[in-house]
Symmetry: C2
Subunit: 138 residues, 2 copies
DNA sequence: CAGTATCCTATTAGATACTG
DNA sequence: CAGTATCTAATAGGATACTG
């Protein structure tokens, strides 16, 4: 596994919490991991699900997640290129953490600005409609 | 409750995860919350438990946590001043999140660099010696 | 004791343009 | 399609000095 890159450690017992956080902070990693919990996604599929992230940022975040051993990057040697991202076992093991974060958010965050009309939540509920509606297809 | 200040939202379902993360990111909040789970602490007690945080940063982080309604700040009108920080109900409700983060870290992070030789952990163990050594008494 | 105030640096993130 | 490269703006974080 490549060089891990978590935050400078403190290190009291709470340090472990910090170190774990450092792997999933950075503005987009949480969402990326969250979406990959649904399954493998290609670069632009991810992009479509994160309408506000720039290409550069998404690439960066993916690279860091990869460095941290949380996601796997599979490149298909073909034209046009195809790159798939998926969780590693280590990445999937974060599922309880993500679940805890999501549960807390659902219970405690008003989501005042953005109406939660979205909430597909079920893994089998295809949110493709959303995507289509938002980007007007590709 | 004062103006909430979480990260700019996205907002897909994973957004809730992001929003929750945004409340506990920022390099020291995790540890602060973690320590406050043990009970109320005064400003300098917290400082002693976070040997690497600057006064300014600790103040900032505490203010943000307060703004987000996660901790309460109680000022005693006396000289010398005394300020106590404790978790609010909302803050305590983060306990499962912290637990999940800690559990993951314990299971997956080597803690390669820093030996956990420190671990005073017990609230009654005075680490005053540390302070004395560092600042040459007050 | 528990902060503020300043100043300064480093890290993050965004926009935009280009490419194998 | 899935990126790089470059440049710049914003933010986070640190050092130091001062204060009610």
């Amino acid at each position: 596994m490549p060089r891990m890159r978590h935050r400078r450690l403190d290190c009291s017992p709470g340090c472990v919490v910090e170190a774990t956080l450092s792997l999933i902070d950075g503005k987009w990693k949480g969402v990326v991991l969250y979406h990959l919990l649904d399954g493998t996604l290609r670069f632009n599929e991810l992009r479509r699900r994160l309408p506000n992230v720039t290409q550069r940022m998404l690439t960066n975040q993916l690279r860091e997640l990869e460095t941290d051993g949380l996601i796997a990057r599979k490149v298909y040697a073909q034209v046009p290129p195809k790159v798939e991202y998926s969780l590693t076992a280590r990445g999937r093991s974060l599922q309880p953490v993500m679940a805890a974060l999501k549960a807390w958010g659902d219970a405690h965050i008003a989501l005042e600005s953005n109406p939660p009309a979205v909430v597909p939540e079920r893994p089998d509920a295809p949110s493709r409609l959303l995507d289509a509606a938002r980007v007007g297809a590709v």
